[in-house]
């Protein structure tokens, strides 16, 4: 028996009085919502993804979008989504893929944390007048420094390990060429070069257009080892081993063959149109000792000149895992929380596996401090960081720096429609179709992303100044400057913060 169709997700309507039939909506919609018949714009709302491309391009604000125009009988357990997923799987028998990050209404811990400010007893600092030190070094710090006296001079004898120098504790996370377009990646690369920070290349090799910005890149080596050779490793300012991703902990990745165009095929060094499969584990890492071997192998190959990061998804035992990583010669541990974005992930993973980044940062920072090895690794936090408030709270919880992903894409036009996996992104971000990719001008894109980084950096300085802090080191791990608002005692204990009022 046929299950029939499910109701529309979005209903598009055009105010025909306002519409001047400029056809921008028809030209801009890559999903085929609009077509022209007998000089009339016909709408197929079923194809709409709520990407807002048409709405943003309409010169008359004539387009309206309504989410879920058809009601189901309301039910608290059998939500619309629950019912529609069952219908989908009854039809197909397949795993449901979804884009972007976790879409379940879990509480957002960041929004239950409040920052401190100075009043009367210690003065706040005005960042307009006083220098605010945001420069951040990512990498190992020596546990002690040794000097020798030399005719009145003092020489440092301790051998320092290479660190990355960031102008602001904010980097752009790993989104591969393949998952996103070249113009999107190029915009991000130009933006980090402008703002004195870094971006991840993702697992997909490095396209030669990124070479001019390679000193601002962190090259990634994941289980598929796509595009990885000695030249690639030497190009990056740092190397990151991707073990896991917050949006899909414990599983690998598949770049569908449709996205493997000639240029992606060349950069990844795989045949045109073949699936690029990254297995779930690295098959040369089956233990913490094997991880240390890969870390050291990467360092050995690059003459111990590059910091090596290890990225893991925030999972239940994240603190113990991070403590293992800190002993592997790695220079930084990247923790990706369960709200992290993705081009495509099985929905059941995206929505159900992993833990929130806020708890993970605090747990890892505390564990490393307790074991006296916090100086061995920097902590980079990612997964759902939306604004400078989240950034400041992440650092106060114990992170050295954060990676942003989705926020940087929103700066390029993304409206979080979550259809990245279809390769038709009308904003030219998650697509390899040249006519869509060309919609991003990398110069304009770079300026938008650089503006965002600049704005958050300004706000972070203001927040620090208000709290009477003039250096980022004084905020880092300073959980005394946070309070929990309506958080339960268990979570307050894990994060080692007090309740508001306490």
């Amino acid at each position: 028996m046929s299950l029939g169709s499910v109701p529309l997700k979005y209903k598009i309507s055009i105010d025909r009085d306002q519409c001047m039939k400029c056809m921008r909506c028809v030209d801009n919609c890559s999903y085929g919502v609009y077509r022209i018949e007998d000089d009339k714009i016909i709408i197929d709302s079923r194809k709409c993804t709520a990407c807002h491309r048409c709405i943003s391009m309409c010169p008359r604000d004539a387009i309206n979008l309504k989410e879920r125009p058809v009601d189901y009988r309301s039910h608290p357990l059998w939500t619309t989504e629950a019912r529609e997923d069952v219908i989908n799987q009854a039809r197909t028998g397949k795993i449901i893929l979804a884009g972007m990050g976790n879409a379940v209404d879990y509480p957002i811990i960041f929004d239950r944390l409040v920052l401190d400010a100075c009043q009367v007893t210690n003065p706040s600092i005005d960042p307009l007048r006083e220098p605010m030190e945001l420069r951040t070094y990512i990498g190992k710090k020596p546990s002690k420094l040794e000097f020798t006296k030399n005719n009145g001079d003092i020489d440092l004898t301790t051998q320092l390990t290479p660190n990355l120098k960031l102008a602001t504790p904010l980097m752009i996370g790993h989104m591969s060429y393949g998952a996103i377009s070249l113009n999107a990646q190029l915009s991000l690369a130009k933006a980090v070069a402008k703002t004195g920070t870094f971006m991840g290349t993702g697992e997909g090799g490095m396209h030669e257009s990124i070479y001019p910005y390679q000193d601002h890149t962190i090259v990634q080596i994941a289980s598929g080892r796509f595009g990885v050779d000695i030249d690639y490793l030497e190009r990056g300012a740092a190397i990151e081993i991707k073990v896991g991703q917050g949006a899909k902990p414990g599983i690998g990745g598949h770049l569908p063959g449709e996205k493997v165009c000639a240029d992606v095929s060349c950069t990844r060094m795989i045949p045109l149109g073949s699936d690029a499969i990254s297995p779930a584990p690295h098959h040369d890492i089956y233990s913490i000792e094997d991880l240390a071997q890969l870390v050291r192998s990467l360092k050995e190959a690059t003459n111990w000149e590059k910091p090596v990061f290890v990225k893991i998804a925030a999972v239940h035992n994240v603190a113990a895992i991070a403590a293992g990583i800190a002993r592997s010669s790695a220079d930084a541990v990247v923790i990706d929380g369960f709200k992290g974005g993705t081009g495509a992930a099985p929905k059941v993973f995206r929505d159900n596996v992993g833990i929130p980044i806020e708890a993970a940062i605090a747990a890892v920072d505390q564990k490393l401090n307790d074991q006296g090895i916090r100086n061995e690794v920097s902590i980079i936090a990612s997964g759902g960081i939306r604004n400078s408030g989240d950034l400041a709270k992440s650092i106060a919880l114990g992170a050295d720096a954060v990676y942003i992903g989705t926020a940087s894409l929103i700066a390029l036009g993304c409206r979080v429609c979550g259809n990245c996996y279809r390769g038709l992104c009308p904003w030219g971000i998650a697509t390899q179709k040249s006519e869509l990719v060309e919609r991003i001008d990398p110069e304009v894109g770079a300026q938008n992303v650089a503006n965002l980084i600049h704005a958050w950096t300004l706000e972070l300085s203001e927040l620090m100044g208000a709290a009477g802090l003039n250096s980022i080191e004084s905020l880092r791990g300073n959980r005394e400057r946070l309070r929990g608002y309506m958080l339960d005692q268990g979570l307050l204990d894990v994060m080692q913060i007090d309740s508001v009022g306490a």
């Binding site: 449901i96 598949h254 045949p271 699936d275 050995e300």
Partner: protein, 247 residues
């Protein structure tokens, strides 16, 4: 021909050893002999050029990882993952090797005279003229050529009947080919792998590989040019295309 650089590696850590090798190759040394090698990892790691390195002893893991060009000949066994993510060049191992031999190898050749462990040739890949080759004289353990995306794995199975008797051959394979002497029980194939006829043309293609392998180890190639092989290839270049539905 200049005298080879001979290094006695007894008790030496891998980092100074590799530094010495890298500096020697950079200064134009073409031949390096390492004596008393015992467990030093990462030998030849990321090394470029056309030098020849002779390893007398048993090197540690990740021999020739990211290596791009040199030839490395080992008189002894090798450990975990020789030829890992290797780009170009040759590894010749006069002995057996551990797990994940030629892991994610991208180009060049790995010749192992004896046996290899689990996951041999896992995720080997190829691109245009870069086609990695792994030849195993003896037998292999489970998951040979798992997730294989390109290249050639050839197992001669000298002294083993059948040549391979462990399971999961080519599980998740989506490119490249695995050629095994004699018949392979289809029960041993992993998900996504299929056995196809080994044709005269296939034999012509592998003949130079067999001849080179036999020459390296001073083995008579005739018995291997006049016998049957099984060829294992992907059943699809898109093994996961049918697994997912959209939200």
């Amino acid at each position: 021909m200049a005298e080879p650089l001979v290094i006695d590696t007894k008790g030496m850590h891998y980092t100074p050893l590799n530094r010495q090798i890298r500096e020697a190759v950079a200064s134009g040394v073409k031949e390096i002999v390492l004596n008393n090698v015992l467990g030093q990892r990462f030998i030849g790691n990321g090394l470029r050029g056309d030098a020849k390195i002779t390893v007398n002893g048993v090197p540690g893991g990740d021999l020739g990882m990211f290596m791009s060009g040199p030839e490395c000949e080992v008189f002894g066994d090798a450990e975990h993952a020789p030829g890992n993510t290797m780009d170009n060049g040759v590894l010749i191992i006069h002995g057996s090797a551990g797990d994940a031999v030629a892991h994610s190898m991208r180009g060049g050749k790995v010749f192992v005279e004896g046996n290899i462990g689990y996951r041999g040739g896992i995720h080997m890949k190829q691109y245009e003229c870069k086609r990695p080759i792994l030849v195993v004289g003896g037998t292999t353990h489970a998951f040979l050529g798992e997730y294989m995306a390109g290249g050639l794995i050839l197992v001669l199975g000298i002294g083993h009947e059948p040549a391979v008797q462990d399971r999961g051959i080519g599980s998740g394979i989506h490119g490249g080919e695995i050629v095994i002497r004699g018949d392979v029980d289809v029960k041993l194939l992993g998900v996504g792998a299929k056995k196809v006829d080994f044709t005269e043309e296939d034999l012509e293609n592998v003949t130079p590989v067999i001849e080179e392998f036999c020459e390296r180890f001073d083995i008579d190639p005739k018995p291997f040019l006049n016998t049957n092989y099984s060829k294992i290839v992907p059943s699809s270049a898109r093994p996961f295309a049918g697994k997912y539905t959209w939200e």
